[in-house]
Symmetry: C2
Subunit: 381 residues, 2 copies
Amino acid sequence: MKFKDYSDEVLLAQLGDRFTVTYRFAVDEHTALEMARSVCVEQTVEFPAQHIEADAINQHIIGRMEHFGACWDGYRAVISYSDQAGTDEFTQLFNVIFGNSSLLPGITVERIDLSREQLGWFRGPKFGVPGLRERLGVRGRALAFTALKPMGLPTASLADEAYRCALGGVDLIKDDHGLMNQPFSEFEDRVRAVCAAVRRGNEESGHNTCYIPNLSGSFEKIMDRVRLAEDCGAGGIMLAPGLVGYDTMRYVSAHTGLPVVAHPAMAGCLLDKGSGGFACGCVLGQLPRICGADLTVFPNYGGRFSLSQAQCRSIVDFCAEPMGDVPPIFPCPAGGMTFEKIPAMREFYGADVGFLMGGGLFTVTPDLSANCERFVRILRE
Amino acid sequence: MKFKDYSDEVLLAQLGDRFTVTYRFAVDEHTALEMARSVCVEQTVEFPAQHIEADAINQHIIGRMEHFGACWDGYRAVISYSDQAGTDEFTQLFNVIFGNSSLLPGITVERIDLSREQLGWFRGPKFGVPGLRERLGVRGRALAFTALKPMGLPTASLADEAYRCALGGVDLIKDDHGLMNQPFSEFEDRVRAVCAAVRRGNEESGHNTCYIPNLSGSFEKIMDRVRLAEDCGAGGIMLAPGLVGYDTMRYVSAHTGLPVVAHPAMAGCLLDKGSGGFACGCVLGQLPRICGADLTVFPNYGGRFSLSQAQCRSIVDFCAEPMGDVPPIFPCPAGGMTFEKIPAMREFYGADVGFLMGGGLFTVTPDLSANCERFVRILRE
């Protein structure tokens, strides 16, 4: 098929750099090669290539297989795309990476390698590890991180919890991600009350505890809530990109002076749990980092979720691997954390990590402030 | 653990109705029951229930198992939650349905049954099948739907395609979902040019073809693009909720007078492909309908994607099942559609469907207008 008014020369002048995506296919070699070739088309033109009478589209718009080979768990293809196919809008980049192919079983996105041009468009978080350490005044140790719980409490109870955590000196307190705008604890009341409680706790204790409200609500309310959090003196904001969209997090991160925590709620849908999706490090490390998170929460190995040590390691690696000027970010393992586990965790994760302890911190003794002090003391040791 | 300032009575007065989610667990009975109990906690309080000294939280906030039993492919649990746990914000409802549990393998969300109260909050699409038929003036037959392709063409070529499709009288022409704001066809240019081309085609042919641009771009640009599409006379807008977020689609649908098409790009991540997720009809039928889509595009069985007839049937069922005042919506099978397949498709899908034919329509003969005429003629027969 020929196209009216199409010119190879005009298109060639508009293509920019190329970026690559590494896919794994958990099938036999013949099928894997066929699937990889189909990804090149499916993620771009969605049109039978033999019918496209336009050389520059066939050679430069359709994904280009740069490498194909066996790996221990299937076959791996590195496919490059024109930056301009993905554009400078994250949703469209996301679409080129895995849009239609997400509907097929057996394809895993292992990693994304952005081009230099794209790293000018997608700048990642504002703080990252060095900026957040500077801001918090915490050096050489892991961050002590907790969450206000459980859903159903009134704002006064949650503010009391936060006050006691600030007395105990944890670094970060977030809303449990299920706290949104329930009638029993409305967002605005909670943010005002908890910010005030944390300020009072800090004044009394001399600590620098930060409160991070959950902003994973309606499209039209997110930016007003960011402004409220800023005005009330919150120390950061939390978004679940699986709920609000990765691009929403990117936008918010670029339009607030506060650090951003990515929560994994619903991001489990993107996670390859055996039938395809994004590899663990990619969805819980790389994507939040590209989209402006300073910290990324994920289920720790050995807890009540099912990630392996290797998967948690890959998240840590993606949080820290070189990526142009994008700073490393804090991996924050969570879920079933207890004091007893911390030494092993510290050995595994090193110092550039936030340990998120919720239920374990609240229940180990009835004295929440003392529990928080102990938490920080163990991390200092 | 006791909570300061907490009162059962105050919480009980704030709980509202309850809604239910049906989960399937592809494991043995003992494990399934344990997982179902854990979902009740994980989706709400995320706190060890035995430590919560608050009866109303334990009895009404924690999910309540209304039914548990065997089904042919595992075990099924119907769990109810307080409407006010999910609130009137879709992101939080979405979170209660599957937020944390999405990280676990082997759990499938089969369906959501909204309460009467929630159906007042989430009102679905503005048109649905009856409203869109009225608007298009098409009765008693399937809609003829096509897409402008391929990525890499300049706007003039795409406008020429649209003009010829309008001459041939297809009902709906959408942007290929990979067309966004590439330098070779910028969004604003394309919307202006294609709207004008379709208008000219309609004037010459007497048809009522509608153009539906793709709005799956950046958070901050979506509403400006909606206004541009409205101003230029577009006949609808398309969003991929998997890319922009389901709540973004809900918001846009509620804030435009145009019909909304849901595209499945990246929604494949939510689709249960064997290791958990949302059942096909739920993610490609029910969620788009709740979030305001008038039409939902999905990969047809027998095409280059892998949905089964049963999965496609479940999408159709979810598009049409009674749901308060929410109208039924058009299922739009796509992918590998040809003229030869239409009779069988029509038998399978009935009349309240949109057949989305892309490559097949463009390549069957070089005369695109004639191909479109033939498409509509076959649907009329």
